[in-house]
Symmetry: C2
C-alpha cells in the first residue's frame, strides 16, 4: 500500500487524535491540527479516499472517522514513531524491577502486575519455552523412616521438590540405592522420553522396590509436567473499566470474563516471532479479543527459557508508548535474570547471584 505523503499525515493525525480522545475525529479538527494549510473540504476528500482504502471507518453518517484495524496496522508498521521514555518512566520501571524476584511463578505473576500498573491496561504474563526440559539430577533426602524429600533439578537449573510419605519404612541404604538408580536411569531424558515403557524398564530393574520406584518416578513426571504446563497470570483487570470503550457493560463483561478465565486455558495468543508482537483487533484468534489489541514482549529467563508479558486493551491503544514501556521492561527482566544487574540503583540480587530459580 503506497500513500501520498499528505494522506499519511492525515491518517496519522486521525489515529493519534483518536488514540488520545476515543472520539471520532472530523475533517475540521484534522485541518486544525495540520495548521490549517488545507481546508476541511480537502481533508474530507482525502478522508473519503482513506476510507475507500479501508484504513478508516465511520461509526455512522454524521460522525467523524475512526481508524479501522487495517488503519492501525498501517500505523504500527509504517507511521508510528518510537516513543521516547522519559526519565521518570525509566526510573519507575527500574524501580519495579528491583522487586524481590525469587520464585519463578511469583516473578511471572509479579511481572504481570507491574506491567499493568505501568501501562494502566490489564496485563498478562506467562512463561514458555520449557518444552525441552531434561532431568539433570535427583536427590532423595531422608526425613523420617517413612518419609523423604525428593529434589529434582533440570538442566535449566530449575529445582523442584516434594515431600513424599510412604506407607512403609525405608532404610538409609535403600534410599541411597534408589537415588543412584534414578540418576542412572533418567538423567538427561526429556519428558517425552520417559515413556511408560521406560518406566516399566526401571521398575523391572528395581525388583522388589517396584512400587516405591514407580511412586518416585511418577513424582518426577509430575514435576516435569508442572514445568511444561503454562499458566497465564492476569493482573489489573480493573483498569478495563476506566476506559471509555468499556463503560458499556455489554462490551466489558465478555472481555472481563475471558481474561479472568484464560488462566485455566492454555489457549492464549502465542507469541511466535520477534521479541515484540502486536495483534490488532481481528488479528486475534480468540473471539473475545476480536475488538481488542494485544501487545506483548518476550524476555529471556536464561537457560533457554523465555517469558512473555503483555497488555490487552482497546484497538485504540497508544501503541508507541506501550511498546516502548513493554520493551524496556522486558529488556530489564532479561538483564535481571541473566546478570542480575540493573541500570542505576542496587538490585536485590547484586551480590547473591542466583542462576536458576527454584520453586
Amino acid at each position: 500500500m503506497e500513500l501520498s505523503e499528505r494522506k499519511k499525515r492525515i491518517l496519522r493525525a486521525i489515529i493519534e487524535s483518536y488514540i488520545a480522545t476515543a472520539e471520532p475525529v472530523g475533517s475540521k479538527s484534522v485541518a486544525e491540527f495540520l495548521d490549517r494549510k488545507l481546508s476541511s473540504a480537502t481533508i474530507r476528500n482525502e478522508m473519503a479516499d482513506l476510507e475507500a482504502l479501508g484504513l478508516l471507518e465511520k461509526p455512522h453518517t454524521s460522525a467523524g472517522r475512526i481508524p479501522s484495524p487495517k488503519g492501525y496496522r498501517f500505523y504500527v508498521n509504517e507511521l508510528m514513531e518510537a516513543h521516547k521514555l522519559s526519565v521518570q518512566e525509566t526510573e519507575r520501571i527500574n524501580q519495579a524491577l528491583r522487586l524481590k524476584m525469587e520464585e519463578l511463578d511469583r516473578v511471572i505473576d509479579q511481572a504481570g502486575r507491574v506491567v499493568s500498573q505501568l501501562t494502566n491496561y490489564p496485563a498478562f504474563a506467562l512463561s514458555s519455552g520449557m518444552e525441552r526440559v531434561t532431568i539433570r539430577r535427583f536427590d532423595l533426602l531422608m526425613v523420617e523412616r517413612n518419609a523423604f524429600i525428593i529434589v529434582v533439578m533440570t538442566d535449566s537449573n530449575v529445582v523442584r521438590n516434594k515431600l513424599v510419605q510412604l506407607p512403609s519404612d525405608l532404610t538409609e541404604a535403600q534410599l541411597q540405592m534408589l537415588n543412584t538408580l534414578l540418576n542412572a536411569t533418567f538423567t538427561g531424558l526429556t519428558l517425552d522420553q520417559i515413556t511408560p515403557e521406560l518406566m516399566r524398564v526401571a521398575q523391572h530393574a528395581a525388583g522388589d522396590a517396584y512400587g516405591l520406584i514407580s511412586l518416585v518416578v511418577s513424582f518426577a513426571m509430575e514435576v516435569l509436567e508442572s514445568l511444561e504446563q503454562r499458566r497465564v497470570h492476569t493482573a489489573g483487570l480493573a483498569h478495563l473499566l476506566e476506559l471509555p470503550e468499556y463503560q458499556n457493560l455489554e462490551r466489558a463483561q465478555p472481555l472481563m470474563t475471558y481474561l479472568s478465565d484464560v488462566q485455566d486455558e492454555n489457549r492464549f495468543p502465542v507469541p511466535q516471532g520477534g521479541p515484540m508482537r502486536i495483534l490488532i483487533g481481528p488479528e486475534n484468534v480468540a473471539d473475545a479479543l476480536k475488538e481488542t489489541s494485544v501487545v506483548m514482549a518476550s524476555y529471556d529467563i536464561g537457560e533457554g527459557m523465555r517469558g512473555v508479558i503483555g497488555v490487552v486493551g482497546p484497538t485504540r491503544m497508544d501503541y508507541a508508548k506501550i511498546t516502548a514501556r513493554l520493551a524496556y521492561f522486558a529488556e530489564g527482566l532479561t538483564r535481571l535474570f541473566n546478570r542480575g544487574e540493573l541500570p542505576g540503583g542496587k538490585t536485590d540480587s547484586d551480590d547473591r547471584k542466583t542462576g536458576g530459580n527454584a520453586l
Copy 2:
C-alpha cells in the same frame, strides 16, 4: 431483639425474595408469598414496624422495602435455614477437590478459583497461621563446584529450595561442614529467634566461611519470611459484572479495583473466630467493602497451618447456599490435606499420601 412469629415470617419472606430478585419487595407480593392469609394492608403495617426496628429500608417513598444490613444480620443469625446441598452440588465440589493439589501456593490459588466457579461470586483465598514456623532441617546439595541447592524444611513439613551460585568454588567437605553447622545452629528456631544477633554468632563461629554462611542464612530467612507473608489470591472478578447491583459502573469500579489490588496488601478482613465467618456490609473494615458482604470459611492444612477461602458479593447474597457450599468445600480441603481421602471417587492422592507440601 424479639419479634413475633408473624414478623419473622414476613421479614424472612422479604429477605429471601430480595436475595433472589434484587428488586425491592412490596406488601402485595409478600401477601402473595404467604398464601394470602393476610391482606397486603396488614403486611404493610408489619413492614412499617420492621422498618422502625431498623431491619428494613426503603430506597425511596414509593418502592418496596429492602433489608438493611441489620436485617441481614438478624436473618443470618436467627432466621436462616441451612441450605441442603444437592447431590449435584456435592458431586461438583468433590470433583473440584480431585484436582492435583501440589504446591501450596497453587492450591490456594486454585481453591479460590474453584470457589468462585462454585458460587458465581468473586472469591479470594489466603493462607495463614504460619506465624510460628520453625526450621526443621537444612540440606545442601552440591551441583557444581560453585553452585549448590539449599533445601529448607520446616516443622510443618513445608519444603523450599533454591539454587545458590557462589562467586568462588567450594569443596564437598566444606559444604558438608556448612550443612552440619547450619543444622546445629538453627534447627528448632522460629523466625523471630533468628535475630541479627544470632546471625552474628553463627558467622563468628564459622570463621572464614563468614560470607558464605551469611549468604545461606539470609536465604533461609527469606524462605521463612515468604512463608509468613500472606498473599491474597483473588479469582472470578468478572462474576461481579453479572450481578444487577454492579451493572452500574460507578459501583462496580471501586470494588473491582479494590479486589484486584488487595493481592498486594496484607490488609484484608482477617477471620478471627469460628470456621465460618460472615461480614455484612458496614461490618467490613475496608471502605470498598462497606456495601458488600464477605463470607469466609477456614480449613486445616495440617501441621498447624490454616487456609481461608471466601467470597465477596452484594449484601444481598444467598447466605444459606453460599455458607453451605463454602463449608462443604473447606471441609473437603481439610480432609484432603489431612488424610488425602474424599467421599466417593478416587482421588489423585489416594495411594500416595503427601503429608506436607513442598513449593
